[in-house]
Subunit: 179 residues, 4 copies
């Protein structure tokens, strides 16, 4: 293990990322491209479906166990987002052109600040949130225009375990701290 | 062929795995991530669909031919699991938080013990079953936290022929024994 | 170009395969794993969907232009097969446990023999057809147990252009012959 | 940066492509294989669904911002194309066996010529359009028979960001020009 690395479990983290994780009390997630592979299945009548990962549920339960909140923040109002959020038991805010304001409001309700927040995104409409939070995370296959602002880039692509990986990291860092 | 390997057909097995296969009379399968690629397709009304492999049916018919039982054990109650199990003609137990108890009950009904069972899983909620059976198997893309307890890790990922591969292994070992 | 190779277009073929193509008047296709990637999407009510390639339609039109017949022969009776065959305008025989008999009947109706037929398959239930026809073809991701009987293995996996590739080969060989 | 290359952002473009981009006032897009991965999901009742990318919407908004028009031109009449086009707010022409005529008509309505058009395609039925426009583009996984006529081949495959990449290129070239 090289200097500046914190091996807390399966995933190798920089000490900086591990330290940031310790501070976070709420994780904001973009939906499309994070919970999904950024694809949308379009039907003849205009209805849509998305492809999510079954691994995410176990991950979000870990976050809850450590007292870390989770919220899905999505630009578009879309019933598939509500459906997935409901199944996962995660708070969901939709139809917010201004994502940072939505995140700030939720943080405020919990008496938290951006300094205690992480955000997981994949595209340019996540930039403003990523720039405000203490721990900005992008998925492996994020658009090049957002990759540079991230403190951590998941090994897993969106929809293929990225959300689970983020939650696993919290377990690694917070679980080892509890030892 | 190196020492300790049993080449019984297309797949190279360790002698230890081949010997374990000989003892197994029932194979328990997790559903999501084993019969599927661990994805779930979410529709606007909350209904779900999963992606399975057509190769599995031929495999399960092989198991039956050799008198080896098969059962799907799933934590969640989900109509897609029942639908797939019915199509494949495989027994299916759902809604069991405690998977080992469910497996033990089914084994008991057939006057079998964990020592005559295999289990195929992919995530941490399969750990307790994997640790109890004689032949613990994980899929290629299993979560790192369960990979270490497996006696065999399939070459195929979940939903892409993993179930078929497990059944092919039984055919290889039991078929060659019958020769 | 090495000896024994016939470069008739984009795909490099052995002279033997090119010669066999010239004789073929009817191509039989398995459905699952050939027109699809061998996956099946399972819905809560048991209904199914499959994933096909838009490239196949253009390919089958090429076959027709050269007077080569096409038929889908499927073991299972499944409405998705009928739906796809209808859309593609291809004859479709379903529910035939004995695929070679079904193929022989269709050949007979056209006063053709197995010696003037090709078959494209992917799994062990295609073996008997593959062994009888003059030009046996398997898809890239065919089960190991059938790969050995093929005279040609497509570069494209099933559902990802395998059918189109077979049709392109006929165009290459028969089109160059017409020159 | 080597001679003849214009580095306008994330994607490395030849000067020739960058110069052609500057002239284009309308981009014509094929649908299947460009907005999708050329797959079609077939249901038991014959209805279809397609897989698109959420990244495309942000891309098309960029085109509009630079005053570049966009139109989807599709051979087949298919409700999924209308559904996707409506969602994206893009003009859509369907059921045109003769794609170049359809494109010419739309160009004429805007007092433009082929010399001010780009076209993005993936298969042989796009050849005539690709040969007429000033900037012919194919997706990464285009059929070999059309790849040679393209001035630019996207790095992303169809349905996996190809449309977005085309739009990003326009932003790179036209955005840097505005500086």
């Amino acid at each position: 293990m090289s200097r500046g690395e914190a091996m807390t479990g399966g995933i190798s983290l920089s000490l900086e990322v591990a330290e940031r994780v310790c501070r976070v009390r709420l994780v904001g997630f973009d939906f499309d491209g994070v919970f999904t592979d950024n694809s949308v299945y379009v039907f003849e009548d205009g209805r849509e479906a998305v492809r999510c990962s079954r691994a995410d549920g176990i991950g979000l339960a870990k976050l809850a166990r450590f007292g870390v909140g989770a919220v899905i923040i999505s630009t578009e109002v879309n019933p598939v987002v509500s459906a997935r959020a409901k199944k996962l038991g995660v708070l969901c805010v939709q139809g917010c052109e201004d994502k940072p304001s939505a995140l700030e409001r939720i943080l405020g309700e919990r008496k938290l600040t951006f300094d205690q927040a992480a955000f997981v995104g994949n595209d340019v409409n996540d930039l403003t949130c990523l720039e405000k939070v203490h721990l900005p995370i992008v998925v492996q296959d994020a658009h090049p225009d957002v990759a540079s602002v991230a403190a951590y880039r998941t090994l897993a692509p969106g929809g293929y375990g990225a959300v689970r990986e983020v939650c696993d990291i919290f377990e690694q860092v917070l679980g080892s701290r509890a030892d």
